[in-house]
Symmetry: C2
Subunit: 416 residues, 2 copies
């Protein structure tokens, strides 16, 4: 990618109502642009990051044997009336066509996936089934001031599982929990698993995956010795208490952001739709269902909240929009030719590069590189040329002069 | 992929109101499932085909230097009032939030892209700009009976270009026209370019890309000698007339389906939003804009209309959900082991395979293979084992017994 011709560059033009680091930095760095509160356009660099996160989630869902599909966003009213959600879910967007038909915009898809999956299930032999999609959801939020972290329109991976009994759901929940933890780990995040209330979906307990960050919207209590973690909203505990699980540690309270959730839906949806299967004792039975959410665009926001400094974003290499940010300082034929050679060689090696070849000052280029936050900044100038080297600077480390061959072998030895 | 555990198999369960070949075949073969008229779920095989088509379109857009971005689907009412479309576009879905704010669902995105792009344009030096997205659109259609060919929710590539003058638009239109023709050619389609009215968007002429098919919704007149082609709705001509362009050929009339369109939008949107740039003579000027649509889900429907026989779908290899449909006939350990070896070897070679390893009759498996329409059917049975070979049958050709090595080298010599 050449920066001069790429659409969406750094800007100072940030809406005054953007109060979060993620919205401020992603806008200033040219990754997103706000259309209205809770709805953003993803510019080329931002779309790359979003797709990179989605690909990691997709890989881990495929590993656990879930099938990817894609359901519509426009849903018939009937399905939502059936489960009570047409009246009960206050964030549901509703609309009416010119023919008088009414629709909901999907904010979760139990209403659609239950009839779809159960139309293919006759007996327990057809279970379990686990399907997921990566698609856009809509929520009629009263307020939406957290940048990508709380959208009225947001990208989510939502998986649904169907089981013959509770034990099989529990088995699959453990598998999914580990897949989720792998996703967060690959993204450089440490997530804690908490129990919370099931919200509108279920009377059962739900599980939430929480990343500690001051930009979060939840408060959690966690043990300093074991894995115990709970959302304060359902905890009969407070900071400083002994851990009720290991009895050894002390509970600490922290602000956290939810980056995933699992709802044990029980038999609610099978019952609502009257869709059953024949179980092992030859009786009709409603399936036990699970719903597993993981917000992709939300994660992009959380990652920026966690990984930035006062100069800009610090992308984890695995989801960065490119691995190398190439900068030529000076525009002599010699420097440009050399930068062009490096650009070509890196591209040929399959190493993604953003080359800032604009005719502007070194100060602006280096400042923009820090703001954009690509892992390796590579500077070419008459000075580096004299030494037969380039200056390589990891985003949060000191620069060093090395040869192109050294640069390529270093990047190839640690593939993103 | 192993068929027994894949979600979404062949079915006889097709809604009675599905009157088109594409909806009937795609549903029976397990690629899509109708949620309601004009809105389909894409099951795993269907999602693969849809993504394959999108990837081809994306490649050709990238070749011409367009930047991919992604804009929201939920649009503020104000933007649509500004251009008159809130009142004039009858297929626009409108909705109101619980806070009283009104929104439109995107059915095309001039209203969003114009302010987005023009916020980054000061002078003619910043032009041209061409950005595209591959995203879902919504249209409040009165009727929607053509399967994937006319959706209320559909996947579209929409590109928008911004130029300093008409000549630059004309230049870019020619580039895009050739990119579109390459897309259709790669998909095995022959498209004709017609002139039509500009519809609600513009008073200017628009260009439509038409594929001849009886399932189409348009009638066109085309010359049997030259490239002349026109939509009958704006033609002062009829079948049998002399061609007004080459004067040699005779016009024939045919039913066709629109698979792409280009609107010369002139200065309408810049003017509506009051967004201008400084031109070469230092004056304020509104940009000349173009809009370039290409329906991805619609193309999937058109392709099935064009490529099927009475046994099922005949996928062009480049977008097929897999290249090989492996079938074991018989379930002896020997046959299963052999089929498993072939499955593993093909996967290792990067050749995508759908293995139907169900314990069911040969008749059902072979019939399903024809219905699903993957390019190469490979049968393993005790008979083929005796010969040390497999039976390979291209979807529309005769079967032949060849060795696995021959199969692999044939598939590798013609990569999809």
């Amino acid at each position: 990618m050449k920066y001069s011709v790429m659409f969406g560059k750094t800007t100072r033009n940030v809406a005054r109502d953007e109060v979060t680091a993620n919205a401020d930095l992603l806008t200033r760095a040219g990754f997103v642009e706000k259309l209205m509160a809770g709805a953003y356009s993803y510019l080329p660099l931002g779309l790359k990051v979003l797709n990179n996160i989605a690909d990691i989630v997709r890989e881990e869902m495929d590993v656990i044997g879930a099938d990817e599909l894609l359901m519509p966003m426009l849903h018939p009213k009937d399905s939502w009336v059936r489960t009570g959600a047409w009246e009960n879910v206050d964030v549901l967007f509703k609309l009416e066509s010119r023919t008088g038909r009414e629709y909901a915009l999907g904010q979760s898809e139990e209403e659609i996936v239950t009839p779809l999956v159960m139309s293919k299930v006759q007996t327990y032999r057809d279970l379990p089934i686990h399907v997921y999609q990566i698609g856009w959801k809509f929520r009629d939020e009263l307020r939406s001031k957290s940048g990508l972290m709380r959208g009225r329109e947001f990208l989510m991976k939502d998986m649904y599982s169907f089981h013959e009994d509770q034990a099989d759901f529990d088995r699959f929940y453990e598998i999914t929990k580990n897949a989720y933890l792998r996703v967060y780990e690959r993204l450089g995040l440490v997530a804690k698993v908490t129990e919370a209330s099931g919200g509108a979906f279920t009377e059962k307990i739900s599980y939430e995956f929480m990343v500690l960050t001051d930009a979060g919207e939840d408060d959690i209590l966690y043990c300093d010795q074991c894995e115990f973690c709970i959302n304060v909203e359902i905890a009969d505990l407070q900071s400083g208490n002994n851990c009720p699980k290991c009895m050894q540690g002390t509970l600490a309270q922290a602000r956290a952001s939810e980056v995933g959730n699992v709802f044990d839906l029980g038999q609610k949806y099978g019952r609502d739709f009257g869709l059953s299967f024949i179980d092992r004792s030859d009786s009709k039975q409603f399936p036990i269902m699970g719903c597993y959410g993981l917000g992709i665009s939300r994660l992009m926001g959380v990652i920026v909240e966690k990984f930035h400094d006062d100069r800009g974003i610090i992308w984890p290499e695995i989801i960065a929009p490119a691995r190398v940010h190439l900068v030529n300082i000076g525009n002599s034929d010699e420097v440009i030719d050399h930068a062009n050679d490096i650009y070509t060689r890196l591209c040929q090696q399959g190493i993604s590069v953003l080359w800032d070849e604009r005719e502007t000052t070194a100060g602006i280029k280096l400042k923009d590189a820090d703001l954009i936050g690509i892992p390796y900044r590579v500077v070419v100038s008459s000075r580096t040329l004299e030494e037969g080297k380039v200056e390589v600077k990891p985003r949060t480390d000191e620069p060093a002069l090395i040869t192109i061959d050294e640069l390529i072998s270093r990047l190839n030895s640690t593939p993103a």
